[in-house]
Symmetry: C2
């Protein structure tokens, strides 16, 4: 490489984000537990989990990856089989790629994460989006799935090869009627993926109870794991397709290219797992939902409007912040970010004021109260 390449900017880089309070929807569920932080150092070296590998990641007995992947995880997500992948999007692509042929159709909710659409594009299949109801609800209904599937049938002569539901979606934190929607899909003979990237690891979740044929979950988004790492769930009916082994390398699964999360990522997921199981217990999740609703009410009292499900059922919420937008017109669009940073509150994207989302997961009532007070002070300061 050229002699003059400046290397000084690389090496150890410190993270400068103040984050005494973190409301970033991408981050609240991925904050590591103390156990996971220790696991990082213990298993950080490349290929550390492979000390005793006999050729299949999921079969490793020491550390107990086999028990995690084949016993604990399927029970946790309520599916027949599971695998650990490099992320929810990688889980979705693996399922789509295994289950479809180029030119097939997939029907997915209009609130789907962009990575579901890009995964379908990578699998070279066509996407039909199920429309959401108008603002402010943005709901996804079983009836809309019926209509979308009918449309694909008319257009292509057969039902779509797959369906996908985002549960909850990552914009509004809406929890759709998953049972109703999976029933619609099954009535048409269409297998359905539940993308639970914001559900698995945050809230009580059982794929089979919801009617899922496949589940995608995210370790770094919702399971207090160091990413990229995710989970894939599949029921027996489709297991042989999704978990197909190489014809030449009998112990290597094709869709996972042999193996996936081969290092600290899976070990942090395992390290945090007992805490994650604990936080998804109904009584703990109910507290989170109650905090979210309380926070939503406080924000609305300050003049903001929470869109999506109301009362809300998830920690991820979308707000219309007209009051902040009005201030930004008089000052600049970064004032809110700056003021919150001053108080070490992270999570609303720099520059956003009119519409923003945030997550209250694990923040707790006291810190949420501090956020509300800070917002109040900001409004007061700029309304003088």
């Amino acid at each position: 490489m050229s002699q003059d390449l400046s290397l000084q900017k690389f090496g150890l880089i410190k993270r400068d984000t103040p984050r005494a309070i973190n409301l970033d929807p991408l981050q609240t569920g991925g904050l590591l537990t103390p156990e996971a932080r220790e696991a990082l150092l213990e298993w950080g070296d490349g290929y550390s989990v492979c000390d005793y590998c006999g050729g299949m990641l999921d079969q490793i007995k020491t550390p107990p990856i086999f028990d995690f992947v084949h016993k604990a995880l399927p029970a946790f997500i309520g599916m027949d089989h599971s695998r650990v992948t490099n992320g929810a999007r990688e889980s979705k692509f693996a399922i789509m790629h295994a289950m479809t042929s180029p030119g097939d159709w997939i029907v997915m909710d209009g609130n789907a994460h962009y990575s579901s659409i890009v995964a379908a594009q990578r699998a070279r299949i066509n996407v039909k989006l199920v429309p959401k109801t108008p603002a402010p609800d943005y709901k996804i209904t079983p009836e809309a799935y019926t209509a979308a599937i009918e449309e694909v049938k008319q257009q292509s002569g057969k039902p779509p090869a797959l369906a996908l539901l985002t549960y909850p979606d990552g914009s509004y934190g809406n929890l759709a009627d998953a049972k109703g929607i999976t029933k619609v899909a099954h009535d048409f003979g269409v297998p359905i993926i539940i993308n639970g990237a914001y559900a698995v690891g945050r809230m009580p979740f059982n794929g089979k109870d919801l009617g899922a044929d496949f589940v995608a979950g995210s370790g770094h988004k919702s399971m207090a794991a160091s990413g990229p790492v995710g989970v894939l769930g599949v029921n027996e009916q489709y297991a042989s397709k999704v978990l197909q082994k190489s014809p030449t390398h009998k112990n290597k699964e094709i869709e996972f290219l042999g193996c996936t999360a081969r290092g600290a990522t899976i070990m942090t997921m395992i390290a945090s797992f007992p805490s994650v199981v604990e936080r998804t217990k109904p009584e703990n999740w109910e507290k989170e939902v109650s905090d979210a609703r309380w926070f939503s009410g406080q924000m609305e009292a300050l003049g903001m409007k929470q869109l999506g499900d109301k009362p809300h059922n998830h920690d991820l919420m979308f707000f219309e912040g007209s009051v902040f937008y009005d201030i930004s017109q008089k000052t600049d669009r970064y004032f809110l970010y700056r003021e919150l940073k001053e108080k070490s509150i992270h999570g609303i994207k720099p520059g956003l004021t009119k519409n923003f989302k945030l997550s209250t997961l694990g923040v707790g009532r006291e810190k949420l109260g501090f956020v509300v007070d800070t917002m109040k002070d900001i409004i007061k300061k700029y309304s003088g």
Copy 2:
């Protein structure tokens, strides 16, 4: 999940492998630098690098991912463009998937890593293996590539869509005549991938100098990074295909599903990068090669036989250990593993005696001498 699920076996798990001396070919190049160990803790939380993300991982300015991906890394691997991926195998699949259609052919060396073959199977393309020369050399020659490409032409009516060379291979550590082989591929109009999973980050490497159209490298195998993480290199000619953006999400690259190594994995790669650049300087690599050759000579003096390139040009070596195999027939096949473990020497797979591989990268002459002395003592102990 069921009440009786035993969670005690999860949580923080300690790594019990003694590894004062590590000879594991999978692991020697992936041992973290002190900077990378600090980076793990600094960036371990899920989605930590996304604090200031505007929608594209490779465009993030803080931390300096943009400068790394678009300036330092392409210069380091000697290619026009680079991306950070979830591993070398994921790089290979992305290239194969973008560059081929199902039913196409790929020609690859008979020493190829299994993941190259599985990646081709995932891309639903046919694999023609280029035969290696017989034992003990196992060489891959340009002439053999010519013959294999000719065969594909005869069989399918056109040249293969892609070729791949493993440089060096992961069994023998052989460095084939890459320039000669890429020239053969280009003479047939076939673009070629160099799988440098054991080269990039260990030794001087320049993809363009070798004639590569694409490069795959491994962070956890050879760049002192916490995996799964890898690099992909592509030259201008094929960049628009491999780096194609989503038609609906203009800033998301399809083959990477939007983004890849979104956390501690890329930050440990960046943290170790200055050290990795240093160790790949010719004078430092020459010392590694000299250590490997010295070690090979010592092992042969003990009655073992090193297969592959001789004199050897890489730290990864394959040995025929007949002397150990003979002992195992009188005792049990785990004696070697047990005895080495006793001296905190890790890296020869449990149960192997007749054939095994190891890597001397970064171990140093003193510790290698200790390994040789230990081997000598073991032979003496069991030959009494």
